[in-house]
Symmetry: C2
Subunit: 471 residues, 2 copies
């Protein structure tokens, strides 16, 4: 265990057993570093991790304190799956329909995986679009079209460096959103009929993708706070022939957890031992609530077997559909596949994002975004505790803007979905997050919308409906 | 045969047998309509087709005359293939490399399939980008993201109507360029291992696509002026199990011919009889030189088995990467595939194109574009007649901006390609247009660049090099 994790575990233990109580101050960073004979950086890392886990909080000009109470005090949802489970043909097409026609069309959708558009710097982006259009001739060569604008690829390399690891721009290929990054990655490391190891529950478009590519799913039990059990993973990979592993390691959608860096490092090792490439879906990388971003598994990729998929959709520019893949040893294969299937990525939105990154305060925007998402996630979590019947369990995300809600076993989330749709309320029913269409009594809620009376009423109505279903 | 085609054939016959000679006037439209008892519109259509075939020319304020001589008086290139030919694994990946790294990077590339950027209304497009960004919130629902902006889809339906046929906007799905349209179309109508019937030579990214999707190619002999022999097609489809047919029916790249409408109608019938869907690559639809655009095979699609793929890349906005597919009965399947592989298409370039189509003079732009392309194609064709050795044959395109050049058999176009690259001259060597890597002594040249001394020098140098290779 790394030093900072020792500190995290130690303090978390003291809070758990009551040695440290709500409101108690922690030693200052300087003092703790002296006491524990570690660098101040290590303490900062430990404290920010504890903060991300909502065990402590920073008070301006004052220091760190044990939190008064964990928001969303309800228990965590249960994992829902206890053993690895093979599903040869995941996900019916009905899901896209369901989501496209019903969830997506709602005015204030609690079912969508798109954040409320008011969260994004549209004015600045439009300025960037205008400014870059004046500079640009779009007379890009085939090379630029295939791999993406060098200015943008360079900017992404710089973001990696700021997150604390190096990914050369040559490894980066710009894609039509994060979904193309994931799709191309799976296409180059699998053949139809292959098995892909995934966590569960899993974002539904990923399941659609497996289905479309003719891939089977090997669903793994997934702890709602820490992800896969690596021992079980190791054992499972010994027993099953798996072509690739598709995981979200940060702010997993829908569960919300981020794997610790130590665990990611180990994950890469286990997969490498079994010769299984990792398609790392990291489109929420910049939305982690803790001050110190948790690096991706890609940071520990020594052999180029991690295909790291990123996107600007969730954190900066929805609708621009600009993503990328840092594809390691698969870079050439991805370039070939991209060339043959979409040829290249639209230039104006690339130029606009590159311009924005160079001229606007991206980090300030991200800080604001994280803070608002965290507040809204907390607020909705509290509301669910009040409005939903006893036995309801709610996730405690480390980032992002969704909550995963387990309701009492009697509740049928597809029925709830249909009932809500009649009132123009969109929610995402549990079964669409599962290759085997489990999670009957789960829903995912989008917390990115500003609080309002109407949102409060909606949640109250949902709570009453759920209670009715329990009778 | 339609009436206008009867007139075309009749006059072409009179020219061919010398009854009509260079410089002879044709009857006026009014007079011809009276003589032949047809409408003036029919005569206009016939004359414009003859003009497109460069048999006659219009002189302002004067009327139509038999052309002094056909430019590119050299013979047409030969078909290069006499029997259907199965290639199980078309096209090595080296092609992308070759084209990406060498052709694409040239300053004035004669090898690229992208037209000179000066040809496009960049200022107007940038204005449209700015204006539409002010109007737009990019808060598009999942539905819009999946299928594309309704304003743009409606505008495309209107273009179809102007071309003379109806394609409802519900059938249209916006894609990341024409390449995604073609790629999604093939993905939904084939399985890996299937055989796709294609014409030959064929645009190289299509061959790459077949390879990437694990599809075999059934290459058909293709007449450089009229395309497939439909009798042979019928016979071939009786003997081979073919999952789909991928063809360019207008301004075929690289040959340049457009199939007649009568032939397209028959093509649809033959394919329907054999239950084979047509993936119709029509990205040059708007670049036909004749006044009356030749409609696509889609116009004759009664059963929804034609997947018509269009794009704004060649005719309006390169770099924007906005295309579409009118997918007939495969619309749902395409929507599902698109959702899972790229989710949606970037919104700002869609909004900009929709704005341009609504506020700018698209038709005027297209008229100018066609005229300039036709002039430049002619000019280069003349230059090739002068500079290249005897025995060189040059295509006579009905539209677009490329020439297909057959050189004497002794010439190795890959060697010529490499030699030219050392002088920073990019050309497209014949073998990349063939699943079986034939066309050793062919090249494709991009004629879209403005004439210049340096271009003239380049062509002279190429001609000398080809002559040297013949010795």
């Amino acid at each position: 265990m790394t030093r900072y994790m020792q500190i995290v575990e130690n303090i978390a233990g003291l809070i758990a057993d009551g040695s440290l109580r709500p409101g108690d101050p922690l030693p200052s960073v300087r003092k703790a570093a002296e006491q524990r004979k570690v660098s101040k950086g290590t303490v900062v890392l430990a404290y920010s991790t504890l903060e991300a886990h909502r065990l402590i909080e920073a008070r301006p000009q004052s220091g760190f304190y044990v939190r008064a109470h964990a928001p969303g005090a309800a228990q965590l949802p249960s994992a829902g799956l206890t053993r690895p489970n093979v599903v040869r043909s995941p996900a019916p097409d009905r899901m896209r329909q369901t989501l496209g026609d019903l969830v997506g069309a709602r005015v204030t959708s609690l079912g969508s995986s798109f954040a409320n558009p008011s969260m994004y710097p549209m004015q600045s982006l439009n300025k960037a679009l205008r400014a870059s259009s004046r500079q640009s001739h779009y007379s890009k060569t085939l090379v630029d079209l295939q791999l993406g604008l060098p200015t943008l690829r360079r900017a992404i390399t710089q973001r990696y460096l700021e997150l604390g690891y190096a990914v050369p721009m040559d490894e980066i290929i710009i894609t039509c959103g994060g979904m193309e990054a994931i799709s191309l990655s799976l296409q180059v490391v699998t053949q139809p009929g292959d098995l892909v190891l995934i966590d569960s529950p899993m974002f539904f478009s990923g399941l659609q993708l497996l289905k479309q590519l003719g891939l089977g799913a090997l669903e793994m039990p997934t702890d709602p706070e820490s992800g896969l059990d690596l021992g079980l993973l190791d054992e499972t990979l010994s027993r099953h022939k798996v072509a690739a592993c598709l995981l979200m390691t940060n702010c997993q959608n829908p569960l919300g957890f981020s794997m610790s860096e130590a665990k990611k490092r180990e994950l890469v090792k286990v997969l490498l031992r079994h010769g299984v490439p990792l398609v790392e879906n990291d489109v929420y990388a910049e939305l982690q609530f803790d001050l110190q971003r948790n690096r991706a598994a890609k940071a520990f990729d020594t052999e180029g077997t991690v295909l790291h998929c990123g996107s600007f959709t969730k954190c900066l520019a929805p609708g621009f559909k600009i993503g990328w893949v840092a594809a390691g040893r698969y870079r050439e294969a991805i370039a070939n596949r991209k060339f043959a299937t979409t040829l290249g990525t639209s230039v104006p939105p690339q130029a606009a994002i590159a311009y924005y990154l160079a001229h606007h305060a991206y980090d300030r925007h991200l800080r604001g975004l994280r803070q608002v998402f965290q507040e809204r996630v907390n607020r909705m979590s509290h509301a669910l505790s009040s409005y939903f019947p006893a036995g309801t369990r709610v996730s405690r995300p480390h980032g992002g803007f969704v909550l995963w809600v387990q309701m009492p076993a009697a509740v049928d989330s597809l029925k709830l979905f249909e009932l809500a749709a009649t009132r123009d309320i969109g929610i995402a029913p549990g079964p669409i997050f599962s290759a085997r269409q489990a999670y009957d009594n789960y829903i995912r809620l989008n917390c990115s919308h500003p609080w309002s009376e109407s949102l409060d009423e909606t949640l109250k109505w949902l709570g009453r409906s759920v209670s009715d279903m329990c009778r």
